[in-house]
Symmetry: C2
Subunit: 179 residues, 2 copies
């Protein structure tokens, strides 16, 4: 027994959520893919929300590692890379981005905000370091919001990042002017 671990459940759920979105993934669906009953899932996670919040952690880790990778570069304009990197991440992983930043859910809010805030702080620190600046008054937060606006409204119109790469670059240039 016990080959049904929390980890295995999270991994399976992770793929399903990305493929189908939050609503269309059912606990029974996850259980079926894992070859167990849906009741078993409720032994490991108290409800669908709790399972999803664990999956969310994974998603944010991915975004964090993208930021880290960009910061390891030396030759490029890393501020621009950070801005574009965020947009690219959103548009190339639309379902995932939606789950991370566009899902509304009472109980989820605090959990999501935890990871989301952490990701933002990493983003903010990276921008400061890359741009060798130290703006206050939440200017970087404003930029973050603006990037989110771009992503969220292009999410389902654009096929992927490449499809709006030009517009994204223009937008990023437009935003850079402000700091």
């Amino acid at each position: 027994m016990a080959d049904l671990t929390k980890e295995k459940i999270i991994q399976q759920a992770r793929m399903l959520f990305i493929e189908l979105g939050y609503e269309k993934v059912s606990m029974r669906g996850i259980a079926k893919d894992l070859g167990c009953s849906h009741g078993a899932l409720y032994y490991h996670f108290k409800n669908k929300t709790a399972l999803f919040s664990r999956v969310l952690d994974f998603y944010f880790q991915e975004l964090n590692s993208i930021i880290d990778t960009i910061m390891e570069q030396t030759e490029n304009d890393r501020v621009q890379e950070l801005f574009l990197g965020f947009i690219r991440f959103g548009l190339d992983h639309p379902h995932q981005y939606e789950l991370m930043f566009m899902l509304k859910s009472e109980e989820m809010d605090s959990l999501m905000q935890r990871a989301a805030t952490e990701s933002f702080e990493r983003f903010e620190a990276a921008v400061k370091e890359a741009g060798n600046i130290n703006p206050q008054n939440g200017e970087i937060y404003s930029i973050f919001l603006a990037l989110h606006g771009f992503v969220s409204l292009h999410l389902h119109r654009a096929e992927n990042f490449e499809a709006v790469a030009k517009a994204a670059k223009r937008y990023v240039t437009f935003l850079r002017k402000t700091i």
Copy 2:
């Protein structure tokens, strides 16, 4: 009979969607409030989505009329008023805003885009007129996206517009610099 009109259904649904959000409103719930069976609703609207899209039209009309009202002013900086007006609308009607701009739904997309696009065009024309400018390359669209970013991320953290009025004004000033 026939005192159950499309209009009555739309009005009741309109309030319920705002109060509870899309998911938590059920056709049975609407029917109960109207004193009819849920089956009757399916005579007037082919499904929940179709009913909701009619409700959405109402919501966008409200936004449109806010834009119109601002444009009737003469003394104020109407560009700033337009930007702030959009943010205020979003934060003071969070549920409604969510339904208008943050709901993802396959079939809904085209319908929502129709009304949303119309609203944006009105916004764009207003900004051009108020600012006496004619920017190209979708700069106004960029600003619209940026405003949406601000609203969407403050939607459930802020109690209402007043709670973030200062940040909103800073943000708007920040955006104005770009055109």
